[in-house]
Symmetry: C2
């Protein structure tokens, strides 16, 4: 029987606030069993961009990563956010290891081809390799993944944290029984966006199609759930969309099922 591994993705809003981040990390530490963390860091990067006079450019929720912006996200995601999380987890007794996609060459990507939009240094994932990482996880190491990949020419690339999380989950699923948690600000996928108590307990493909067409599921939630289905099809045992503050509390959030 495979050992269980929880992969938790936490987004920018939790990460950018020291108090909410500390509270989240407490809950993460208390999660039982093997685990890994994937973090965003969006608005921390925006703040540094502003200080340096770089105007953040977003199209359809995705960042346009020009050369200067790539420097900023490499510094903020790979350095500031990642290293502070790793140091906090170490102080709480977890043997954390921070990684960009280049570290151990775990997340190979290629620069997104230019079609209508030039996303700049944005990486589309080609291959996730967690063989050595699995060995470390078995020895108690907790990987902390920054949303950065790299290409075969040695170029660091900016990659969506949800995609990094599902890539890690699918790759680890060969060795572990993987649960993937997408944590964000809401309690789960809501039937009524104005009511936090309207969490939909479970969504399958049919429901997803229906909820998309009636507009209940929209915006950034669509690719998140599409990622979830892809992960389940590729061997991940469960995917749960929940709030960062409910992590570890049983029975919360929205479970995505095939």
């Amino acid at each position: 029987m495979k050992e269980r591994l929880s992969i938790v993705k936490v987004g920018g809003a939790v990460v950018e606030n020291a108090v909410s981040l500390a509270a989240f990390l407490e809950r993460f530490v208390s999660l039982e069993g093997r685990k890994a963390l994937v973090h965003g860091g969006g608005r921390v990067a925006d703040t540094l961009c502003h200080s340096l006079g770089i105007e953040p450019k977003m199209v359809g929720g995705r960042r346009i990563t020009d050369e200067k912006t790539l420097e900023v996200v490499t510094m903020v995601y790979g350095g500031l956010v990642n290293k502070n999380i790793v140091a906090s987890l170490q102080a709480k007794g977890l043997n954390a290891l921070g990684l960009s996609g280049a570290d151990l060459g775990w997340l190979l990507a290629h620069k997104r081809p230019v079609k209508e939009i030039d996303y700049g240094f944005a990486g589309d994932v080609e291959k996730a390799d967690t063989e050595l990482l699995s060995l470390l996880v078995e020895r108690g190491v907790v990987p902390v993944f920054a949303p950065l990949s790299f290409d075969a020419q040695g170029q660091i690339l900016n990659t969506n944290a949800d995609t990094v999380a599902s890539s890690a989950a699918v790759s680890f699923a060969g060795k572990f029984d993987v649960s993937l948690y997408y944590c964000f600000e809401k309690s789960g996928v809501l039937a009524d966006p104005s009511r936090e108590d309207s969490v939909i307990a479970e969504i399958n493909r049919e429901m997803f199609t229906r909820l998309k067409s009636d507009g209940t599921i929209a915006g950034g939630m669509i690719p998140k759930i599409e990622n979830a289905f892809a992960a389940l099809e590729a061997g991940v045992s469960e995917v749960i969309i929940t709030s960062a503050s409910a992590l570890g509390a049983g029975g919360c959030g929205t479970r995505i099922v095939l």
Copy 2:
């Protein structure tokens, strides 16, 4: 018999220039056997400090690390410089892994006590632990160390790259036959600072005392050589001070011996 491990420290001047860094990394890649890299990044951090309106403060060659400066060095050393080196090495076929001192908890330190000078968030090394890293090195991984440590409260600290290199060398010496290379701009320790061909081939303790008292060895070279003696006494097999451009060329530089 222990396997050989070369630990190479390269300073800020090589790192801050893309052309010299690329040339150095080519030579590093061609070094035979197991290896690890320790990088500085001094002036890259200064540039970002200036862009953010932070005035770099140095006392006796050491940086005063206030809170804002700590953010900058965490971003630059742990993020920008480290991740770009790791990605470059991956592209050249080395399985590089970038680490701050917090990653795998390998370099525990404490904040330097305030005496005449308050160095701020500067870390004095307490303990280096390379047990898991040794396992990775045996599997072909090339650690790339940023000059950052952490303390038991989860605080990232700025730590001199020479010290990081000797700490790593001493810790790995339990498992490996370690050669430590300090690479800098000159060809080695010079008998006449104006002549690059005046490299002193070998320096022992007696010569060091003499060369210090006559002023041949001065400034930042003094702690570098003191670090070297300490490393040799703690089990490191050899320490060589050489130029970044001579790395891998046999018989160059200054060998420090007990």
